[in-house]
Subunit: 217 residues, 2 copies
Amino acid sequence: MEINIERNILEANDRLAVDLADLFRTKSILCLNLMSSPGAGKTSLLERTLADLGGEFKMAVVEGDLQTDNDARRVAATGAQAVQINTEGGCHLDAGMVQKALAHIDLDGLDILFIENVGNLVCPAEFSLGEDHKVTLLSVTEGDDKPEKYPLMFSISSVALLNKVDLLPYVDFDLDKAARHAKALNKDIIVMPVSCRDGEGLGQWYDWLRKERKNKK
Amino acid sequence: MEINIERNILEANDRLAVDLADLFRTKSILCLNLMSSPGAGKTSLLERTLADLGGEFKMAVVEGDLQTDNDARRVAATGAQAVQINTEGGCHLDAGMVQKALAHIDLDGLDILFIENVGNLVCPAEFSLGEDHKVTLLSVTEGDDKPEKYPLMFSISSVALLNKVDLLPYVDFDLDKAARHAKALNKDIIVMPVSCRDGEGLGQWYDWLRKERKNKK
């Protein structure tokens, strides 16, 4: 009984997600679903990316949080369109929430839509939002054992950004070990060590965005 | 319909949690439910606490993770009894899982039982495990906005440990702001800045454990 209910919820979500994927295809919008633990740097990555690539691409952001519109305000400060979803305690975004948020975004001519999911390394992995790619951030302060301990998230992500490498001198984190565990779960995952604080490694992220943007046209 | 299902699941959990609370009362065991984002330092806190207070108290640990028995092995290395629960993807522990795990722990003469929940700042907050207190850890690397953004967890916790203060020189984290937001949600919450790496601030944590242990007798 419980398993059927869960399956029904996921199936209903997947049907809506297919509609979203169709919309993104029709409009030629590259859509990326950003996921991580709380405080791993999703909003900082967006602030950097929107500022650095603002001249190249038209970008917008759907922000998901339990409470507050702090992140939408941070992102809107870069000049990008930003819409906040408050889940009121809900642990993940679903396709229906994204569909409603899109009514507040001008999709015409949009190149890239970022969806910043609720900070949670578990539940968001189960819900497709019609995105082209899932992107996971892992802060080096969280420990190099996290791909092994939270395997679903890394199994289904196209990119794993290992963020806050500026803190590597002060924590025990083995970049090779984390990358090895992520690739054992998902041989195609692209692992990028970055620092959203000082910009280290973001060139590889921007090049990946350019390539994926081109593929979507 | 969906709301009723959720309520039924929570009510079934709460009934089991009452049984667990009765058991802990009968056996005079202080039970603490440790919760946080992934990598905030729950296992490190336990390693320190089990080593430093091993001469004073008989302690045991129930470890919750999606996958791996890494944490139970880390904790067992201190000599304490440790039982691993793997939720196989589940985002929180529930009272039924704890009940099953307790069959593998010798409860006689036990002073303190720690339950380390799944790394997740959202879902574990909804499920009582019969504990005397919920204890939340927040790493300073996660940002001082987290109490405001994840309010339920801080509303229901007796203690918030602000961990990794050894990294304060390298991150933007305002201890006063985080404490102020936590206390705005929960005026009784005790906020303790600590470093499980160098031991800073743990004296206050140990004194709190001694006091709560005494109250439970």
